[in-house]
């Protein structure tokens, strides 16, 4: 059911294809494409990473959090502040990641004793409290007027693009590992019945902290990359509720607790945002709302569910054809 017991591995040709895609993506900046493509690429990689990060705790372990913007903000500000202090921006990324990790443990420990809706609601509270507090720490964060980064080093997009790509690949490998390991099984067991998981020896709090912490690290790094790319950050944005919501929308649209769902979700998110926003400004959010309603009502498993359905349909058509064919031997 979860691809674990069946120890299903990605088939060879798919692996090859993925490697080709990666090579193509890496070479993009060097073949002189329109910088806007790189811009969209950067955003997509960033969102895929974010969306997959949310999926670890939210999808696999079923703990819906509305507070991931806190990690993003911490990562962004760690980069912003240190960079302004003269530290190489790439060296700031681990700092942001650690900060986010520390924060995830700090809030995770008390909050993971809460169940279901309480946890979700607590994360709304923590996220918003962080935003307001950061807004008031004007000396450190620049308050509502935000923080600008040194722009002296030039504006080349390539480093950001490649870093985001690297982050995305690392995240996908991580999620793939989790999915096929006992960690994934533990997280799914927690989602199903926390008490039962605990009674079977799953240290539920530790595993939730692990999932939360991994997510935090990824989101923290992504925040740092964002700050590097945007040159300007501000609490209402990087700690914003909207950001937390987007993080959760993407895996939902794509399909929870899967490897590729969050990827699809993020791609759709960026593409929709890009095309709709530019062409139909007033329709953008409306479309989003309608899309959400439609997905929830008709394809709860997201795009992955839709693909699954399609695949089953095709397979059954195929099987039918096979059955009717004279040689008629059915594959299992």
């Amino acid at each position: 059911m979860i691809g674990l017991a069946s120890a299903e591995n990605t088939p060879r040709p798919v692996t090859l294809l993925l490697i080709l895609v990666i090579i193509a993506l890496v070479s993009l900046p060097f073949v002189g494409v329109n910088p806007y493509i790189l811009h969209l690429g950067f955003l997509t990689f960033l969102y895929v990473s974010l969306s997959s990060a949310w999926n670890i705790l939210g999808g696999f372990a079923g703990q819906v959090s509305f507070g991931y913007s806190a990690f993003f903000g911490l990562g962004a500000y760690a980069t912003g502040i240190l960079w302004n202090a003269g530290v190489n921006p790439y060296l700031t990324l681990p700092v942001g990641a650690l900060l986010a990790l520390a924060f995830s443990l700090l809030v995770g420990y008390p909050c993971f004793r809460l169940s279901g809706p309480y946890f979700a609601i607590a994360t709304i509270g923590i996220g918003e409290a962080m935003r307001v507090i950061m807004l008031n720490l004007g000396d450190i964060t620049g308050g509502a007027s935000g923080l600008t980064m040194p722009t002296t080093g030039g504006f080349s997009k390539t480093p950001s693009y490649l870093s985001a790509l690297l982050l995305m690949i690392a995240v996908l490998l991580l999620v793939n590992y989790i999915r096929n390991s006992r960690i994934g099984l533990a997280l799914l067991a927690i989602k199903e019945d926390q008490d039962a998981a605990e009674a079977l020896g799953v240290p539920t709090i530790r595993y939730k902290l692990l999932a939360h912490g991994l997510g935090a690290i990824i989101v923290g790094i992504a925040g740092g990359l964002y700050a590097q790319y945007m040159f300007y950050i501000e609490p209402n944005n990087v700690f914003g509720f909207n950001l937390s919501i987007s993080l959760l929308l993407m895996p939902v649209i794509g399909g929870l607790a899967t490897l590729w769902g969050p990827v699809l979700g993020a791609i759709v998110f960026v593409v929709i945002q890009d095309t709709l926003m530019a062409s139909f400004p007033h329709l953008h959010l409306l479309t989003y709302g309608l899309l959400l309603v439609v997905i929830v009502l008709f394809e709860p498993d997201g795009l992955m569910g839709l693909f699954g359905r399609l695949a089953r349909f095709l397979r059954s058509r195929y099987a039918e054809g096979q059955a009717r064919a004279p040689s008629g031997e059915q594959s299992l």
């Binding site: 807004l135 509502a144 722009t151 944005n237």
Partner: protein, 407 residues
């Protein structure tokens, strides 16, 4: 995305005689979302300027020796920072605009103005006043809004005059509230600077910030109420101004002088608050009552423009006036540069002297940082919905009422 990059100067070398068919100008404004109202006002200002230039056939570009019409590409960022950056990127890299006009609210201008700097595209805005926007050493970013510090200082100078005239006690006690943004901070800095300059004139009892777009001010106002200060000096954006002043009035509060920084005479506020806005004072970048002929002309043009656009003539507000000036500054600079080369336009903006300007002081230039430094005027709402200019002396259209009569 498959548009012909008509305004691109990169192909100018290939086809020297022809030149582009249009000059593409881009802007990203909040047309929906929290700041949409003002975003749309600002768009009006840009559009009016463009319409006027296009009536003449466009901008005269010496390089091609003809007038080239202007086309504006405007996107809506829904008052969202990430989107404003994305869309500005798009204007520059996909739509290939020659120059950019700015967006609205400080934070959005902060965020989007990185993009033109990145690509070396001239950018003139009428929506960001925070000095920090211009402090970054950017070379392509210009703005027509003078710093808020000057706004606060202008008001304080006016108040000192009133104290000298015996209309206010000496020292006058102050409650100072400011929104927790760079806009608010600049205001606070201006007030504090003047309090230090005239120590025996002013005394601050409360100096506090509040969150932008707050949902409720009653607790804060309770605190203010208990202090019984003389002067109520606030810096707020329109929605906060409306909410706070409404709750202020509900509580039956009173101060001898009330200001909400740059807000006060806004028609939206008058609609929402009714007579409660009487005697509220504001220092503004611009008002339609400025006694200059070019302002009268602009007022009339603007009314005609809105009549055409909305089927209803609307009197101009400062939001539209400053963006109108921003667009005029940009177009004039292009004309002076005589080419569509972005660096040349930038240099022209740097040296620009726009005269007569509709802004106070009647002359627009950009300082070294790129920000205009025009003076402010202080206005006060009078019963009956009229607003008069009460300071400085040379622009005065009425007498100030200080202290404000008690209800």
């Amino acid at each position: 995305g498959a548009q012909e990059p008509a305004g691109s100067e990169t192909d100018s070398g290939a086809e020297p005689a022809e030149g582009p068919q249009e000059i593409l100008i881009g802007t990203v404004l909040p047309l929906t979302g929290k700041e949409s109202r003002i975003g749309n006002y600002q768009l009006d200002g840009y559009e009016l300027a463009i319409e006027q230039w296009n009536e003449k056939g466009g901008i005269y570009v010496k390089e091609f020796d003809r007038r080239i019409p202007i086309r504006l590409i405007s996107y809506d960022d829904e008052t969202d920072q990430a989107k404003t950056v994305s869309l500005t990127e798009r204007l520059v890299t996909v739509d290939n605009v020659t120059a950019l006009l700015g967006g609205y609210t400080t934070t959005l201008v902060f965020a989007q103005s990185v993009v033109p700097e990145k690509y070396g595209v001239p950018y003139v805005n009428g929506g960001g006043a925070a000095t920090k926007i211009y402090d970054r050493g950017f070379k392509y970013v210009f703005g027509t809004l003078s710093p808020i510090e000057i706004l606060a200082k202008t008001e304080m100078d006016f108040l000192k005059e009133q104290i000298d005239a015996g209309n206010l006690p000496k020292p006058s006690t102050i409650v100072l509230l400011w929104e927790n943004t760079s806009h608010g901070k600049d205001f606070q800095a201006g007030v504090r600077a003047k309090v230090e300059e005239y120590p025996d004139y002013f005394e601050i009892l409360l100096d506090e910030s509040f969150e932008l777009h707050a949902s409720d001010f009653s607790a804060l106002l309770n605190k203010v109420n208990s202090l019984e200060a003389d002067l109520f000096l606030v810096d707020a954006h329109l929605p906060d101004y409306i909410l706070m002043h409404r709750q202020y009035t509900e509580k039956g509060m009173y101060h001898k002088f009330i200001t909400y920084g740059a807000r006060g005479p806004d028609p939206a506020a008058k609609d929402a608050l009714g007579a409660a806005t009487d005697y509220v004072a504001a220092a503004v970048w611009w008002t339609p009552d400025l006694p200059y002929p070019q302002v009268q002309q602009f007022n009339q043009d603007f009314m005609e423009f809105t009549e055409r656009k909305y089927g209803e003539a609307k009197p101009p507000q400062w939001y539209a006036a400053v963006t109108y000036e921003a667009a005029r500054a940009l177009f004039t600079a292009i004309e002076q540069a005589g080419t569509l080369d972005r660096d040349a336009i930038r240099d022209a903006l740097d040296n620009l002297v726009l005269e007569p300007s509709i802004l106070p002081g009647q002359r627009l230039t950009f300082s070294d940082s790129g920000q205009a430094l025009n003076p402010f005027v202080v206005v006060q709402n009078m019963p009956g919905g009229e607003t008069v200019i009460i300071y400085p002396e040379d622009a005065k259209t009425g007498e100030p009422v200080v202290p404000v009569p008690a209800k």
